[in-house]
Amino acid sequence: MNKRKDIAIIGYGETKVTLKGGRSSYDLAGEVFAQVVEQTGIDPKKIDGLSIAETMSETSNPFWGVYMCEMLGLSPSWMQLNGLGGTSGIGGIARAAAAIRDGLCETVFVVASDAQSSGRNPEQGAQRGEFQYPVGLRGPVGAFGLLTQRYRHQYGLDDRALAKLAVTQRNHALMNPNAVDKLQKPLTEADYLNSKYVSEPLRMLDSVMVCDGANGVLVTSTENAKKLGAKKMIHPVGYGEITNFKGAEPLADITVSGFSVAGPRALKRAGMTPKDIRMIMPYDDFLIALIITLEDIGFCPKGKGCEFVMNTDLSYKGTLPLNTSGGQISAGQPGLAGGGLNLVEGVRQMFGEAGARQVSDPRNCMVTGIGVIPYGRNWGVSGVLVMEQS
């Protein structure tokens, strides 16, 4: 697939991230919908597609997507429920683009919303009851503890690089009014290094805090965007995704992720190399994921991620601005809408609407998604999206 700019993102919306905010996923999504309608001036009747992420809080309702249409007054001719964890946002855009190109619909609301910190956590079942829960692996925290330990063994891990990432993201969050209030305080490298272990060698400040929130974008064909008189638009120009990377290889190296496949694929389709990327909004459930993501996509050789971080200005004023709204680790993880937080920030930056933290010349942006904790591996889904201005 060669680079095409036939698909456009013409609007975005985001709620503030809250801790146990008490509002439902429907209500949060409704707020994003209203923002998108207001921002684009679109007649909601013209939205004929819905690409919606699965949630933690509402997943006991297998008809969540259809209920959402009812809530929002939409009658889509195409509807897609994305169960890709943190990849659901960018994966939702890729699927919407395919549906639009296939003529199934014209304009798609891509939304993610979750009230995980206020709601129920569904039981994931499968092998976990027999082969995970009795052992006591502490979910994602435990899995990333194992991953961090193995990474440290194979390549060495410079704690100063993780501290730099923690501080860079926190500084960005302090400029983001939508970030969760609880984390709105400055952080130093020493704070990170002194943070207590939750699953050694993983620290508390390596980790996200589960919150509530919603985000979304409006996607249509570039042709239709012009017809609608869209004030601003950017284009998804390359996407790569893989689920259960090396899943059938029992002894695969767990420090190598699906980004080693999804990253090059997205870049190839975008006609770019890592050097061309102006800013990156990588999925950050744990800081070590950022190191592995940068390596596997090809920003630096394998095992050199810490060095790359130490030698690169990742602030909004830097050479490779990273998670300029604070990332999930410092803005709060709105449950399974977490992947959309960094996505929406990318769109906001490219629209030139990031205020105090605006990146200069925001010509393109890479966004990544990570989803699901599998048995004894790194993560279940890896997705990479490259967006470019017109």
Binding site: L147, S199, A248
Partner: protein, 148 residues
């Protein structure tokens, strides 16, 4: 008397017990638990390709067929990775801190497990380990590992 007046001064904290494995929740794993009860660790092998796999699955990951059998393995392996758990999974609060590891068996699969009879600071990646059965109940032996 109102409902509130009857309520105890301090709400009782309901303690979640340690999660126990229940055989056959997602497929037929009974042979695994039967063997465990007899002190034998068995894993699935694809009869066509000879490839082992763990955890148990409904098909061979090597060829997609259901031509699988259970074979006893040595119980010997090495530590692939480990994490000392301070923040417990629900039901494991009394065990903190406890050691969770990925052990690579000689036969070529990895198993998520606890490590016993070793101090946290002595655990190393590559360390040889052998099987240790943790008796969770009269009927359930759970596979764990200890230094070899």
């Amino acid at each position: 008397m109102s409902e509130q007046a009857k309520a105890p001064a301090k709400p009782e904290v309901k303690k979640i017990p340690r999660p126990m494995p229940r055989p056959n929740t997602y497929m037929d794993t009974k042979p695994f638990w039967e063997a465990a009860k007899n002190g034998k660790l068995v894993i699935q092998y694809c009869k066509d390709t000879g490839k082992p796999q763990f955890f148990p699955r409904p098909v061979s990951m090597a060829n997609g067929k259901r031509n699988l059998e259970w074979r006893e393995v040595s119980g010997r392996g090495t530590v692939y990775s480990f994490t000392n758990t301070f923040s417990a999974w629900p039901g494991h609060e009394d065990r903190v801190p406890y050691m969770v590891a990925l052990v690579e068996l000689e036969e070529g699969v990895r198993i998520l497990c606890n490590l016993f009879n070793v101090k946290a600071e002595d655990v190393k990646i590559g360390m040889p380990v052998k099987l240790y059965w943790e008796k969770l109940s009269e009927d359930i032996n759970y596979p764990a590992f200890q230094p070899a």
